[in-house]
């Protein structure tokens, strides 16, 4: 089937190849809700082709140098790793900074997509799309990351806990662009363990359910931080805060983790779809949650 001009899939739009972020925010303001940013295109392109999205203007940010790269910066509470929005997932996977400074993200990103999608797909794109089962949003939430958003009115930072509002819905307004995501790095002197697990139909596909865990221990073996995030089992990626609180502040024994698993099921309201039913997701969330916590604990104890 050879298509010619007459049978294009996407509805008509104007295209702007932006050279600077200023240009992007101006165009977003002018677009008044009818303009949309394209980065790697891995989720927007299908939406355009199926005409689920019919923007008047598409603003391409792929050539904006200031939107790509990974760097360590100092922030109020210690160092952070800044990943600019248009950084390709393939670049994140290959990044030494992520491998050494953000072990949980390094583990999670190995599950993201296939080589063809990672070569175009961006870190900011995953966070903007906000699929509740997607690995990068789940990891950002579990690591207490925040995003920096910008509009003509200025720049604001939004913590991950306040960022995800529902499936594919975030706190970013139509006139804002996501500039970067900021991950705190581990403090010196604490022993950190991390783990990431997921169940998917095919490696590289979206997770049906995913679990991410971080445990930090002090010199005496007392847990100073416990974070457990579950993806794919609710409308947004979720932290299991009740369980975290139960486990924090003492020595964690594996039996204690097992005893607290009920908190995982209680915290989640999964939906069912063609991939898995709600009961399955709830059960797998508890199994993967336990596995991730046990593995993170063992890693922290070895550290």
């Amino acid at each position: 089937m050879v298509r010619t001009d007459g049978s294009m899939k996407a509805a008509k739009f104007d295209y702007i190849q932006a050279a600077t972020v200023d240009e992007v925010v101006d165009a977003l303001a002018k677009g008044d809700g009818e303009a949309i940013v394209i980065a790697g295109g891995q989720t927007l392109m299908p939406m355009l082709s199926m005409r689920l999205a019919r923007p008047e203007t598409v603003i391409d940010i792929n050539r904006i140098a200031e939107l790509s790269g990974i760097e360590v910066a100092s922030a109020a509470n210690g160092d952070e790793v800044v990943i600019k929005a248009c950084t390709r997932q393939a670049a994140a996977l290959a990044s030494d900074i992520i491998q050494t400074q953000l072990p949980l993200l390094a583990k999670a990103i190995a599950y993201v997509g296939h080589q063809q999608t990672r070569n175009r797909g961006t870190v900011g794109g995953s966070l903007s799309h906000a699929d509740p089962a997607s690995e990068i949003p789940l990891t950002a939430l579990t690591m207490d990351a925040y995003v920096r958003l910008r509009s003509v009115a200025g720049t604001r930072d939004v913590a991950m806990v306040d960022y995800f509002l529902g499936p594919m819905m975030t706190a970013r307004a139509d006139n804002e662009i996501l500039l970067s995501v900021h991950f705190p790095t581990a403090q010196t002197g604490v022993r950190t363990g991390t783990a990431f697990h997921e169940v998917s139909e095919l490696r590289g596909d979206f997770a049906v359910v995913a679990a991410a865990a971080v445990i930090e221990l002090d010199g005496a073996g007392t847990s100073t931080k416990v974070a457990l995030g579950i993806g794919g089992a609710d409308g947004v990626p979720k932290r299991i805060t009740e369980l975290e609180e139960k486990l924090r502040g003492g020595r964690i024994d594996p039996g204690g983790i097992h005893a607290a698993l009920g908190e995982i099921a209680d915290a989640l309201s999964p939906g069912g779809d063609q991939h898995a039913g709600a009961a399955y997701r709830r059960r797998v969330a508890a199994v993967l949650g336990e596995r991730a916590l046990l593995e993170a604990l063992a890693e922290a104890e070895r550290a």
Partner: protein, 161 residues
């Protein structure tokens, strides 16, 4: 809706063209350039049939606008033949090891395999599976696809000796 001028390289040839921005890269290659070797399976980024190389790395051409390819160098499956047009290394290996049945997924498989073998002429089974993980085949069950890639790799190694 303003048209845009793009200049790019396809299989080593310089192309300049004026296009509507909503044209997908797959449709540009097939419809405007007559390069129908790049296949359209799902048209929404799940099957891998439309894979091409963009500046040497594999991507899904249905997930890119043609206008975004401005200034880039593309390689399609047509670009992997030998200079005289006869099958290239991977194409011949797929023929010899029966790496295709209907052939629908084949261009995408060959592009993914090309990206793998360019840096690694002795890939493990896991590395091959990972490389073609984003390419769906409804016919072969993948075994002969993998064997074809292994055959191409072994021929590459022999040629390097």
């Amino acid at each position: 809706m303003r048209k845009h001028q793009i200049e790019l390289q396809i299989n080593g040839k310089a192309i300049a063209r004026e296009i509507e921005p909503r044209l997908s890269l797959t449709d540009f290659l097939r419809g405007e350039q007559g390069l129908s070797g790049t296949h359209i399976g799902c048209e929404h980024g799940v099957c891998g049939a439309c894979s091409i190389l963009l500046d040497g790395v594999p991507i899904r051409s249905c997930l890119m606008l043609a206008v975004q390819a401005d200034g880039h160098a593309l390689t399609t499956v047509e670009g992997l033949t030998q200079d005289d047009g006869s099958p290239g290394l991977l194409q011949a290996a797929f023929q010899d090891a029966h790496g295709m049945q209907c052939g629908y997924c084949t261009p995408g498989m060959i592009i993914s395999a090309q990206a793998l073998l360019v840096d690694n002429d002795d890939p493990s089974l896991e590395q091959i599976k990972d490389a073609i993980g984003g390419n769906i085949c409804r016919c072969t069950g993948y075994v002969q696809v993998i064997e074809s890639i292994q055959l191409a790799a072994s021929r590459m190694r022999e040629a390097h000796l």
